[in-house]
């Protein structure tokens, strides 16, 4: 009896292990492609981020602000005579 059961068991175990190998390599492939897409996403986000940083600093550059303030909005630094100092309650002033 045992002589017949043992090979059957071994065969079943071998089959299971083979299927497990197939499954795990499938999972690996899946995870790998996921990692690839996430990596790509990271890359794209970094690309966006640094582009936005550059755009932001171009828009906020002192050069641009001064030319808009002076040329487009006709602003000028206030004369000292029109300065008014405000005293805070605590007496601390900056």
């Amino acid at each position: 009896m045992t002589l017949r059961v043992l090979p059957a068991c071994l065969l079943a175990a071998a089959l299971c292990s083979a299927l497990a190998v197939v499954y795990s390599s499938h999972v690996v492939r899946e995870l790998y492609s996921k990692q690839q897409s996430v990596e790509y996403q990271q890359w794209a986000l970094q690309e966006d981020y640094s582009r936005l940083l550059l755009e932001h600093s171009t828009l906020a550059s002192p050069h641009r602000i001064i030319s808009i303030a002076q040329d487009d909005l006709a602003m000028q630094p206030p004369q000292l005579s029109v300065h008014r100092l405000v005293q805070f309650q605590g007496g601390q002033q900056r």
Binding site: L54, S57, T58
Partner: protein
Amino acid sequence: MNRSRVGVSKPALWRLVFVAFCLFVLSGLLISRLVVLQVIDRDRGVGFLQQQGALRSVRTAEIPAYRGLVTDRRGQPLAVSTPVVSIWANPQQLRDSADVVQLATTMGQTPEALAERINLYSDKQFMYLARHQTPNQARAILDLGIPGVRGEREYRRFYPAGEVVSQLVGLTNVDGEGIAGVELAYNEWLRGQTGKKRYLKDLHGDAIRNIGVIEQARSGKSLALSIDLRLQYLQHRVLQRAMVETGAAAGAAVTLDARTGEILAMTNHPVFNPNSREGFDYAATRNRVVTDVFEPGSTMKPLTLVAALESGEYTIESLIDTSPGRVRVGRKVLPDPRNYGEISVSRVIEKSSQVGVTKMAQQMGHEPILEVFQRFGLGEPSSIGFPGERSGVLPNRQRWSDIEKVTLAFGYGLTATPLQLAHAYAVFANEGSQVPLTLLKRTDGESLPTRQVISPEIAGQVLEVLNRVTGSEGTAQKARVEGFRVGGKTGTVHKVGDAGYLDDKYVALFVGVAPIEDPRFVTAVVVDQPKGDNYGGGAAAAPIYSAITDGVLRLHNALPAESHEARQLVGLGGGA
């Protein structure tokens, strides 16, 4: 035939046993060899074979690391890394390919030029077709799907503030390593660690499977400088305009916060564009504020005044007779512009009188003056660790001639950088103590290793004299800032040429402190070879100081002099 058929049993069995034995021995040999290869001598066995296999199919690739951001003290980016793609190719595969024409047109080159370049590398397996392409450009090339053409991810450095901070922030090379300025000084901090990954490749060199990451890429850390970009821009604009007006060959300016030792702005002329290497002028990359030394001239007179006050023989109101407006030292005659007669020590500095200072120096001797210079940090490198920084030279000789003893008192015979000058004047602005300089933003409440250089009383007296220099009798009326009390000292130095001092080439200097009531900001300005008649420190450098300080005080909401007076009248005291 018959015999064999008759005696079939005996010899046949013997042969069978023999053959079986031989086969058994052979298989035993094979098995033992297998055991040797697989178990005992793995290095020459299975290890060797695996290695040979790996050599043909496993490759390691670098994972680029993100280089840290450099920002100003308010978080404005000064250097940013952006992802780019470098296109490379295997020339062997590309050499006879018909796709070269299509590739060249996409890349914007002529097919002939590209074919020629490919030919140049025909015995290699790798060549760059185009480095640092924007992701969109690269996609256009890679989407052609030409075999042997591949992209590699890299980072490229951009400098949003461009030439305004170019010498300070410095540069990286094409591989992302710092080669100048802050990029070089803090390279280790900014750089990050390149990672490694392993992958399997096929016959054509395409990656078919990732095996794993050996080393994760670590991003570089970001760095906040002490620079205020608004101030830096203002200083840059003022300096560039002044360079055009004075026709000077070069110029430099630096502004410090004397209380924290932070460098708030640091600009130079000429400038370069760090975002483009076309028409690159190597000399323009020099950060003159720290790399160029010159004789500080009359800007050293306030330090001589410190020596005089410390000797106890003088107060700022002591009288010195400067008539007849010139003094003979050895074979040389040192003149004043005119005969000032008997004037106070304060007036000697205001007028920058050579005769007055000479008399004080002769009275004191050179040792105390030299000692004061040393105490103020001249002749020593600052603590910022900037690449190429120079420390200047203080004379250290056994024998001093009479003229050398005297000229030391008005700033000849020693050299200093603009940064050292500003740092020396910071002593006056910080109640006699000096804080080590830094290019990095200090955190609030950081304990500062201050060093008391002179007594607060003497610092206050010198400050008062410096303020008078910008007064109606002084040499630096053009340094005044409307609404504020400022102080400083001019300097006009003959440049040194092959045959000693040049008669017609000058360096104009101004170092100043503001505001006098609540001193904090020190600015040093150097104008190298101003043209025309306005070559002096009071004419060429002082107006630059005035324009810069006007902006500094406005940006920091400093209290105007008027309101200081008003507050003192109502008994609120000065400290805000």
